[in-house]
Every structure is written in structure tokens, then in C-alpha cells.
Amino acid sequence: MARLIRMDNTGHTTLAEWTQADPASVESAVAALRAELDKGYYAVVNHGEGRAEQVVTLPVDAQLVILRRPIAGG
């Protein structure tokens, strides 16, 4: 089962889980992702060392989508 998680003060929180075979779960994950993007989070799919992909829509075939806060120079 694929997961949409948000890094937060608890470590991370699972916001949605979906399988491609279950359109309702996908729809729910899409809505959850949209809501978090609207709050200012960025969604990233990690592809191993050196590679990650910033996404603005739910990649249904991904196993894990991670929401992160913006970064800035200190």
C-alpha cells in the first residue's frame, strides 16, 4: 500500500494510504496532497541516492510521497 506522509513535529504523520486498485483511496490521497500543497508543503518522491522528484500531483504508482516544508538559507 502506498503512503502519503508529512514530516512534522511528531517525526512524520501518515495522511493517506492508497492502492491503484482502489479509486476511492486514490481520490482521498489526491485530496490530502492538494490540501497540504495549499498549506505550503512540497511533495517529493525519493528515488534513492542522488535522485528525488518534486511533484505537484499525486504519482499514483509511487510507493511513498513525502511532504516537506520549504528550506531557506540560514
Binding site: 514530516m7 511528531t10 517529493v44 522528484e53 518534486q54 505537484v56 516537506r68 531557506a72 538559507g73 540560514g74
Partner: protein, 209 residues
């Protein structure tokens, strides 16, 4: 899908970082340090040779000339120094996620040093909680960059930086502020002892070194 880090929009006036620009920044940093140190060094030598009365002032100038690059290196090393921890449960959960993002060797290095190693096209990165070291040959670029939420567990702070780095390495270096660029040995001795081995380990990893 986007290949450019969205945070670069906040620093739109900065040219996008690349290898050539990094080299230029490194030399600029060295040149500006020399401009500050060399006159002081010359004056120190003159004062020491001039008269026994001025030796003390000359020695003070000599110490100043030595201290300037050391202070800069200390500023650079500070970017990866550990920050206050969140609750134990949150730290543990965040550590689990970070562990899933990196391989065994990086996990082991993080457990020992608190830094995550990531090979990039610009060099080898050592990512900390509020900054990163970019190692290129014998030079280290110290970048001050952090997630905007200071209450996150330490591993989450690292994961934020790591994911941004992986999404767009050049964009990451563009957003980050350069705190120091100089010799690896100079940064190494200013790092907390537990972190020094991370810099040593990088030497065996990069074809750029």
C-alpha cells in the same frame, strides 16, 4: 513534475550554482582572506624586526593574522553543529524515515557523526541539521541552509535538506548561504570531534577528491 527547487524563486537574483561558479566562489573566498591576512602578516614581521620595543605589538598582529582564517573556518563548521533535540519519540520516528532514505553506509555514518553523506555532481555533501558541507578535492564549502520549521526533530531537518538536495542539487546550493570556503583541514579541526571522521570518510568516496 518539477526539476527546479521552488525555493530558488525566493533568491531569484542569485545566479544558479554550477561547478564553475563554485570554483570562482572558492578562489574569491581565498583572495578576500589573503587581502585581510597578508597586510597584517607583513606589518607583524616589520614590527618584530624593527625594534625590541615593537616585538610585542608584532606578535599580537601575528596572532590576529592567524586568527582571521580560523574564525572564518569556525563559522563554516558551525553550520553542521547539532541543534537542540525534540522529544525522544519524535526523534525515533524521524530517524526511521531518514534511515529509509539512505543506504546502510550512510545510516552508519549518520549514527556515528550526525551527518548524512550524499554524492552529488558538484562534489560530496555532508548534510547536517541546519547546513551542509560540500567537499571538492581539498576544499570544503560550508553552506548554511535549514528547514523553515525549527521545531522538527533533528533527523527530519536532515531529511528535508537531503530531499531538497536530491531534487535539485544546483538549486539547493543556490538557495543556501555560503558561510565559509576553504581548506578541509581547517574546517575539520573546528568540527565537533564526533563529526571529524565524516570528513575523513568523504576522501575515499569522491572521484573529485
Amino acid at each position: 513534475m518539477s526539476t527546479t527547487l521552488p525555493e530558488t524563486a525566493a533568491v531569484h537574483w542569485r545566479p544558479r550554482m554550477d561547478a564553475g561558479r563554485l570554483v570562482l566562489m572558492g578562489w574569491s573566498w581565498t583572495a578576500s582572506t589573503l587581502v585581510q591576512v597578508l597586510p597584517m602578516l607583513a606589518l607583524a614581521v616589520i614590527l618584530i624586526l624593527l625594534d625590541p620595543v615593537t616585538i610585542a605589538v608584532g606578535v599580537i598582529m601575528l596572532v590576529h593574522a592567524w586568527a582571521i582564517p580560523e574564525l572564518y573556518a569556525n563559522r563554516g563548521a558551525k553550520v553542521v553543529k547539532p541543534k537542540p533535540r525534540a522529544g525522544a519519540a519524535a526523534e525515533q520516528t524521524a530517524l526511521g524515515l531518514l534511515g529509509d532514505l539512505v543506504d546502510h553506509r550512510a545510516r552508519e555514518l549518520h549514527a556515528r557523526t550526525g551527518l548524512v553523506m550524499e554524492r552529488g555532481t558538484l562534489g560530496v555533501w555532508l548534510v547536517g541539521e541546519a547546513g551542509a558541507l560540500l567537499v571538492r578535492r581539498r576544499r570544503v564549502h560550508c553552506w548554511c541552509v535549514r528547514v523553515t520549521d525549527p521545531d522538527l526533530p533533528s533527523s527530519d531537518r536532515i531529511a528535508h535538506l537531503l530531499l531538497a538536495l536530491r531534487a535539485d542539487e544546483q538549486g539547493f546550493a543556490t538557495v543556501a548561504n555560503l558561510a565559509f570556503s576553504g581548506a578541509r583541514w581547517r574546517v575539520r579541526r573546528r568540527l565537533p570531534k564526533t563529526m571529524r571522521s565524516a570528513l575523513d570518510e568523504v576522501a575515499g568516496f569522491s572521484p573529485l577528491l
